[in-house]
Symmetry: C2
Subunit: 247 residues, 2 copies
Amino acid sequence: MGSPPPPSQSLIVKLESIAPVSDEERQAIVALPMTVRDIREDHDIVRDQDRPSQCCLVIEGLACRYKVLPGGKRQIFSFHIPGDIPDLQSLHLDVMDHNLGTLVPCRIGFIPHETARQFIRAHPRIGDIFWRDTLIDAGVFREWITNIARRDSYQRVAHLLCELYVRLRAAGLANGRTYAMPITQAELADATGMSTVHVNRSLQKLRGDGLIRSGKRSVTIEDWDGLQAAGEFDPTYLHLRPQALAA
Amino acid sequence: MGSPPPPSQSLIVKLESIAPVSDEERQAIVALPMTVRDIREDHDIVRDQDRPSQCCLVIEGLACRYKVLPGGKRQIFSFHIPGDIPDLQSLHLDVMDHNLGTLVPCRIGFIPHETARQFIRAHPRIGDIFWRDTLIDAGVFREWITNIARRDSYQRVAHLLCELYVRLRAAGLANGRTYAMPITQAELADATGMSTVHVNRSLQKLRGDGLIRSGKRSVTIEDWDGLQAAGEFDPTYLHLRPQALAA
DNA sequence: GTCACGCCCTAACCTATGTGTATCTTGGCC
DNA sequence: GGCCAAGATACACATAGGTTAGGGCGTGAC
């Protein structure tokens, strides 16, 4: 019933998950002009060395940031769900130091930098929330450093599954304890610094231990406490507001 | 000759290394009120779970951000040299998700959040540089993820030594190809996700290969090109201005 | 002066994890 | 109907890097 939600709806949900947003600010966000485009699967939106002139809002789908090393190895730094603006940093850093690509077909909103800058000037509180968002990003990177450097493969995968769950839930995109996870095991390997075979092993062990069930392109958490314990997961670093955390 | 540099001198050098700063802005920074305190070695300045009401400027010494895992393992996320404001994030993230501690005796300037916020409001361009600085921080974290996940121990240590060199040089704190590095091998291990023994092995190999010489609490780079190649080091991710990069 | 401790270094051992290869299933899509 | 990508499983093998243990040396404390 009613018209479809505006493309910025997911952005509002996202911002509200990390800071309060006033009615007036909400309206301003809805009015934020952007160009919406559908991008096919496994396609780069922005590339290493690019000098973007716009920011990307993930409206639908799943994207990731990654880098390819001289030897051809790939490292994924983050997954981005609807509501995220993965390259917000390009507002202040001219040159990209990594790639942003899709993992599945995505709907992306493009916001010119000039528009974004005017918007932030007109709504400094939202500017602060944007800054906050990039700081949370950094917090997630720190947690990934810890995850990769100090936890074994089983813990690593458990931790990543916890993070995805909490973030999707905060975005209103989890269905109970189940969420869509259209990420291949090879991609999980690129994110956790493991091999696909080892990701496979770890997932099987998580299943065997009754912590998760994983269907086709989705995950169901069978034992939330157990999974958190297995991954030493503590969501503090996501800096979500209590209501978004509980969801 | 002349009076000693104001405590904010290092901050000015730092900001100028990542963005242009006008004379007027420079004067405003010098006038920025802060409380200077000397902190002893191996002491926490801010702790995990704290809700700081001020930001810390490293004026002298060396600090690091780190987290301690349930099992007692420690992960260091970053090293901070004079001019850095390691907990700038606390301006927008209430609760600390990691610790900030000294590695050697430090001189630290404390700037109340309220002061910093007023300052940013009065000098929005410097506010943008601060934001930019936190974004560079995130870029460094991404590079560390890559380093730890995808490079072997030898490369990892080489990369870290390169990063420290370039940053210290941009801050005017390198002496030719030599720089002070009062970091123990155990701390290097905590930063690179390795064991002390393995850090030791890697340093020895770097020395054996004629890439570095390491004296007491200092490092001399014998073969800069070789060290960069060994660590696959590309300074793009530090987003330094050309003049700071060349230094 | 000497004692103790932190830091550095070394060596032997061992395990977690990656590599390579192979086979088999399943489901989606042309 | 058939192809292809993703996943599951299962070996054999290689090895980076962790663990444990012990020794030496410089330096600051007393």
